[in-house]
């Protein structure tokens, strides 16, 4: 059953490329939409997906083992939501059906990669599937083939290659020191303590590579260009889930299942997290383009997750996972809002669209929900995730980190309110026309994502109590 998370998108990908006349962009859209909806629903059905190792065997030839745990379950759920939204956004923003068909194919490739990365039980398979996701995204980012998108892609590609060198070298050292690449084997080697210098060195190299993939400061150079210049649906995908899975998830997985880190390592990771939070929040103030502002905000919010992972207490890890979910959904919503504005006014520059946003009431209201959630205002899900992270930091006697994280939340609210005021709240002297909102699919995405943010925020105590998505497992 669990193997279907990898095989179903792969089989659909093959089926869509069979030489039959009835397979076109429309059929591809509906089939993919059904698959993505199933991916959203399956993790919610506990009895269907028991946690633990799952072996898949297809005759004697094809056998592999996957590992499904609480973390993987939440990741699969989040991946499902974001790829579904990206599919809908692409329908309204990609103009030619051939390009849309190629987009769906590449979306399925990246889905296969992300699901396999989340379910893999060894560090090399994890790396292979992270790279598969990255390769699909390189192509997706440059799908419009405009100069700036290609420039952003090129930056991402070069930095991603550097990250790959770090990660591959580290895997070589892990094989040397632990004799194998499975999470359990490397964890046992850390526990045994022999070759600990080499293991720590390998862990350090791996972390360097992952920090580039996460896009945290000082490895963030590619993020603003990549997010702002890519096609709208690709921006949603990239900001919503790709960097989270290829970077943040890998960091979480290593800290939860593989590494046993020393306090000096923890301090370094927390320092990188707090630098990202502060630097990116200050840089966001200087941005005049909504997508670039959201990109810097993403770097800052990923900093919160890294900070919580570095803190490494069970409460901090729960906070990191909740903030991962909050950021994936809220940032997807804000990028969908940016796509609506771009579709209607042809630009996402705040100076150009100042005062025009009030023609899009749904976009304006949902944008407010998204920015409040990212800033950590109750009753949205972002309030809980930030609250848990800050409480965990104070509980772990990290008062300075906790204080800075709290202060920057206020700063986050300030730069988002500046954007909201300029785009949606003030009225322009000349109005571009009273045409309705551009595309129903975009409006539907905005309402759906806003409902998830509000619903998860209001229902979090119930969610934790009821064992929904096995989230309560992180509290013990």
């Amino acid at each position: 059953m669990v193997s279907l998370f990898i095989l179903a998108p792969f089989i659909l990908l093959l089926a869509l490329n069979l030489p039959f006349k009835f397979i076109n962009a429309k059929a591809a859209f509906w089939l993919s939409a059904v698959l993505f909806l199933i991916q959203i629903l399956l993790p919610l059905l506990d009895p269907w997906l028991p946690l633990g190792n799952h072996s898949a065997a297809f005759g004697h030839f094809f056998k592999f083992t996957l590992c499904l745990d609480s973390l993987a379950l939440i990741m699969l759920f989040t991946i499902g939501i974001v790829v579904f939204i990206s599919l809908l956004v692409a329908r309204g923003t990609i103009t030619t059906s051939k390009r849309y068909f190629n987009f769906i194919n590449l979306l399925l490739v990246s889905l296969t990669g992300m699901n396999a990365a989340v379910l893999s039980a060894d560090i090399f398979s994890l790396y292979v599937f992270v790279e598969i996701t990255a390769v699909a995204v390189f192509v997706l980012m440059a799908i419009e083939k405009n100069r700036f998108a290609i420039e952003g892609t090129f930056k991402y590609l070069v930095l991603s290659m550097i990250a790959s060198i770090f990660i591959l070298s580290s895997i070589a050292f892990f094989i040397l020191a632990a004799g194998e690449v499975s999470f359990a084997g490397i964890h046992s080697a850390f526990l045994a303590g022999t070759n600990i210098i080499l293991l720590n060195f390998a862990a350090g190299l791996f972390l360097c590579g992952i920090f580039i993939k996460c896009g945290v400061v000082p490895f963030h150079g590619w993020v603003p260009d990549a997010y702002s210049e890519a096609q709208s649906a690709v921006s949603v995908l990239l900001a919503g889930i790709i960097t989270k899975i290829t970077g943040v998830y890998v960091l979480m997985r290593l800290f939860i299942s593989v590494f046993i880190v020393k306090s000096s390592f923890q301090d370094l990771i927390m320092l990188i997290g707090i630098i990202s939070i502060v630097f990116a929040a200050l840089a966001a103030f200087r941005q005049d383009n909504i997508k670039r502002l959201l990109a810097y905000s993403s770097i800052s919010q990923v900093g919160y997750i890294v900070l919580a992972i570095g803190c490494a207490t069970p409460l901090a890890v729960l906070g990191a996972i909740l903030h991962f979910f909050n950021h994936a959904v809220s940032k997807s919503l804000l990028f969908v809002n940016a796509a609506s504005l771009e579709k209607k006014f042809g630009s996402s520059d705040i100076s150009i669209i100042t005062g025009l946003g009030n023609q899009l009431p749904v976009t304006g209201v949902t944008s407010l929900a998204g920015l409040f959630s990212v800033a950590g205002i109750p009753p949205f899900i972002g309030f809980w995730s930030k609250l848990i992270i800050i409480i965990a930091l104070f509980n772990a006697q990290r008062f300075v980190y906790g204080g800075i994280a709290l202060l920057i939340s206020v700063l986050t609210l300030a730069y988002f309110l500046y954007m909201q005021r300029n785009v949606f709240l003030i009225k322009a002297a000349s109005v571009a026309g009273d045409s309705p909102e551009p595309f129903f699919g975009l409006k539907f995405c905005e309402i759906l994502l806003a409902a998830i943010i509000v619903g998860a925020g209001l229902g979090l105590p119930f969610i934790l109590k009821s064992g929904f998505l096995q989230l309560n497992g992180f509290l013990h």
């Binding site: 990898i6 792969f10 990908l13 030839f61 094809f62 056998k63 592999f64 996957l66 051939k98 390009r99 190629n102 194919n105 590449l106 490739v109 296969t112 990669g113 396999a116 893999s120 090399f124 398979s125 292979v128 599937f129 790279e131 598969i132 390769v135 699909a136 390189f138 192509v139 440059a142 799908i143 419009e144 083939k145 405009n146 290609i150 892609t153 090129f154 590609l157 290659m161 591959l168 895997i171 070589a172 094989i175 040397l176 020191a177 632990a178 004799g179 194998e180 022999t194 070759n195 210098i197 080499l198």
Partner: protein
């Protein structure tokens, strides 16, 4: 894409295959399989994507660039050799009491018996590469 670029991509794939054979001959079949997995599939695809972004330059510019590149890296082999010599002769490299890596008797076993999930990954990456080529080379520019 010119014939030369195709040759260079093929050259990269062949080099990685030769490296995999050398690793196998050095009694590291698992590393050989990893080399094949990463380089033959993944790097080739990325390389195709990268070269698709390049532009043709004039002959004069080509010769100027070649000369600049040559001058820039003239001393590189000497520096590398000197650094290697110094590292070996002067520095005490710490000796780790390393366990013997888990050896797999046969590269076929490593590829077909142990890493089935990575094989699926190889297929998916090739498909991603095909879509890269379709998007960059077959779709008309806007």
């Amino acid at each position: 894409m010119t014939v030369r670029l195709v040759r260079s991509i093929m050259g990269l794939a062949i080099t990685s295959a030769v490296l995999a054979v050398i690793l196998y001959r050095l009694n590291s079949p698992l590393a050989a399989v990893f080399e094949l997995s990463v380089c033959s599939g993944l790097i080739s695809v990325i390389f195709i994507t990268t070269v698709s972004f390049t532009q043709r330059i004039s002959k004069e510019r080509f010769f100027i660039r070649r000369r600049e590149r040559f001058l820039k890296f003239l001393y590189l082999p000497i520096i590398i050799m000197a650094a290697g010599f110094l590292l070996v002769r002067c520095l005490q490299i710490p000796q780790f009491g390393l366990p013997a890596p888990a050896q797999v008797a046969d590269v076929r076993l490593a590829l077909w018996g142990l890493r089935h999930l990575d094989l699926l990954g190889q297929v998916v990456i090739l498909i991603a590469g095909v879509f890269g080529v379709v998007v960059f080379f077959k779709e008309p520019d806007q």
